[in-house]
């Protein structure tokens, strides 16, 4: 295993090469195993790009909070008494201890257990034991407040942070991805919600392999053969709709696959396995979507799957259920993954139950497909041990074709071109 990659120093050479005339696109495998590359990614990518923090539904009420690790920072994400969201560094401005040590909850204040400083949900210092021993202006000077992240914003309920105070605004950064986020957010009549329960796991592979895999339409028939067998084995697991569709470059390294598929979708593609009750439920959802969004958009929401990659590491896959996933490297050969289920707020108990049942048939570390993705990614990482002789990965599928199919690799080339620009310092 290549957990501890060799740091390669010296003049930077591009790790991405594209030969349009010959239709060959390659990525240097050093990008997956080199510790120096990973450190540079933190500087040039994770410390410059907008990163997913959470969904506004996770903080439904004033005082709600979650703590989360984002690009190696401990963050405290809160909703204050006025309903405003805050993203704060979860470290006491006094001497550094982690202020909130719970994963989630509701609280009017946060007290650091070390010396007892107390903060409001907006991060402002409210009290210090022994306050009389500080100068009169100390508390109001601001030096004792929890430090907010340099930039925080949200779009369609998805909340992002940026550690670069000079970064372009979020809407500009999201570029064409905004349209897909709007489309996904429009599944819910009353808004969307993260379902309680997060799938937290790790993969012994480089994080960029999961970025590729999350928008890879090419691997389904082989890597997920046993999942497709499962659907065939179930009475009524499939409808006769061929896998077909295309990918789109959304700008700034973001991309999406939009395609039809034979599996059931809780919003709203009925398969016989959902039963007659499910048929009625799906028809109700479908007709309400059409009333609210018009027939054309309702079809795009209900009948089409979307695998969305927002550069660098937010994946929103709207497939047999809806999952939000983000992941970070802790070593070149190891990443931490967090996955959630997203759902329309107003779903009935039946709908929610079937959504989750459908989610788990494919998605997550106990599903019938994700474990085989984990195996594939770890297998690639093991294979990279041969990079001295076999140093390049091929990402050429679909080059030279005017319309990129959902199972081509355009979306990965979009990711890699942006990655190369940032890592080689050609773009901010």
């Amino acid at each position: 295993m290549s957990d501890t990659g060799t740091v390669v120093r010296g003049p930077r050479t591009s790790m991405v090469r594209s030969d349009d005339a010959r239709g060959i696109f390659q990525v240097a495998r050093r990008a997956f195993v080199d510790g120096g590359v990973m450190e540079h990614e933190y500087d040039a990518v994770f410390d410059r790009c907008w990163l997913y923090l959470g969904h506004e539904s996770e903080l439904a009420k004033p005082g709600d909070f979650v703590t989360r690790t984002v690009a190696r920072r401990n963050l405290l994400f809160t909703r204050d008494a006025q309903g405003k969201l805050h993203a704060l560094f979860n470290t006491c401005p006094h001497r550094g201890a982690v202020v909130c040590r719970e994963a989630k909850g509701n609280s009017k204040v946060f007290q650091c257990f070390y010396h007892g400083w107390v903060f409001g949900c907006d991060g402002k210092l409210k009290g210090q034991p022994g306050e009389e021993r500080y100068t009169a202006g100390h508390k109001d000077s601001g030096v004792g407040n929890l430090v907010p992240v340099p930039k925080f914003d949200s779009y369609a309920g998805f909340c992002f942070v940026n550690f670069d105070a000079d970064a372009a605004p979020l809407p500009e950064y999201l570029a064409g991805a905004k349209e897909i986020l709007d489309l996904i957010a429009s599944q819910g009549e009353a808004g969307m919600t993260i379902v309680e329960g997060g799938q937290q796991y790790a993969i012994r592979a480089n994080w960029k392999l999961l970025a590729e895999n999350s928008v890879d339409g090419y691997h389904a028939l082989t890597a997920h053969a046993s999942y497709l067998d499962y659907l065939k084995n179930m009475v009524g697991g499939l409808v006769p709709i061929a896998l077909s569709g295309r990918s789109y470059d959304l700008g700034n390294g973001h991309a999406v696959l939009e395609y039809k598929a034979p599996w059931g979708r809780p919003i709203a593609q009925w398969v016989p396995m959902f039963g007659e009750e499910g048929k009625a439920e799906m028809e109700t959802i479908r007709s309400r979507l059409a009333q609210r969004l018009g027939e054309e958009k309702a079809t795009r929401v209900a009948a089409y799957n979307h695998n969305l990659l927002i550069f660098p590491n937010l994946v929103i896959n709207d497939v047999m259920a809806l999952t939000v996933r983000t992941f970070y490297p802790v070593a070149p050969g190891q990443m931490m993954v967090n996955g959630w289920a997203l759902a329309p707020k107003e779903e009935t108990d039946w709908q929610r139950k079937f959504r989750l049942f459908n989610f788990l048939e494919f998605l997550g570390p106990g599903g019938f497909a994700t474990p085989d993705d984990v195996e594939a990614l770890e297998s690639c990482q093991i294979g990279f041990a041969n990079l001295g002789a076999a140093g390049w990965s091929d990402i050429s599928k679909g080059m030279g074709h005017p319309e990129p199919s959902y199972d081509d690799e355009l979306q990965m080339r979009v990711f890699w071109k942006r990655w190369d620009q940032l890592v080689n310092g050609e773009a901010r």
């Binding site: 295993m1 994963a103 989630k104 379902v195 309680e196 329960g197 997060g198 799938q199 937290q200 796991y201 790790a202 993969i203 012994r204 890597a223 053969a225 046993s226 999942y227 067998d229 499962y230 084995n233 179930m234 190891q334 931490m336 993954v337 959630w340 289920a341 108990d349 929610r352 139950k353 989750l356 049942f357 989610f359 788990l360 048939e361 997550g364 570390p365 106990g366 019938f368 994700t370 474990p371 085989d372 984990v374 195996e375 594939a376 770890e378 093991i382």
Partner: protein
């Protein structure tokens, strides 16, 4: 009302562990009732969380348990082919008071999975609901609550716990 003794409960749980370690999955399935469930909640959920309302790692009904076994016996279940080596340890077995036609049994477990040069450890509490069927006992529900902060570093629960 016939009650199960701790020794009988242990025999059943130890048999299950042995069948899983030998990859005798068809026989494993026969230990379960036809309306059984196999559950592994996500690690950030409170005890007793409902799989119909919250996101689990695994929430199999009986038909999906059957398909899990079918899938795990294929070479295309890549995560488990070549097969990993597993060892299920079961301890601290306690029999609770019968509730209707079911008897709750709890146990502590540690399951090791080795493959590709690494060994992952799954630690937790197994909550069983056993039912008297014919002359013996079968499992109606197995719920594995992991004492972990996440599936880290494992990345998967592709074996049966």
């Amino acid at each position: 009302m016939i009650t199960i003794t701790r020794a009988e409960a242990e025999d059943l749980l130890f048999l299950e562990a042995d069948l899983l370690d030998q990859w005798k999955l068809d026989e494993w399935l026969k230990l379960y009732t036809d309306d059984a469930a196999y559950l592994v909640p996500s690690t950030d959920l409170p005890p007793g969380a409902d799989a119909a309302k919250t996101l689990f790692y695994i929430a199999d009904d009986h038909s999906r348990m059957v398909q899990r076994v079918v899938r795990l016996q294929k070479k295309t279940a890549h995560s488990e082919w070549p097969r990993s080596k597993t060892r299920h340890l079961v301890s601290n077995v306690r029999v609770g008071a019968p509730e209707g036609d079911e008897t709750p049994v709890s146990a502590a477990f540690v399951t090791f999975r080795s493959k590709n040069g690494v060994t992952d450890t799954y630690i937790g509490r197994a909550l069983y609901r056993l039912k008297r069927v014919g002359g013996g006992w079968r499992i109606r529900e197995k719920r594995c609550e992991l004492d972990l902060d996440g599936l880290r570093p494992h990345g998967r629960v592709s074996i049966i716990l």
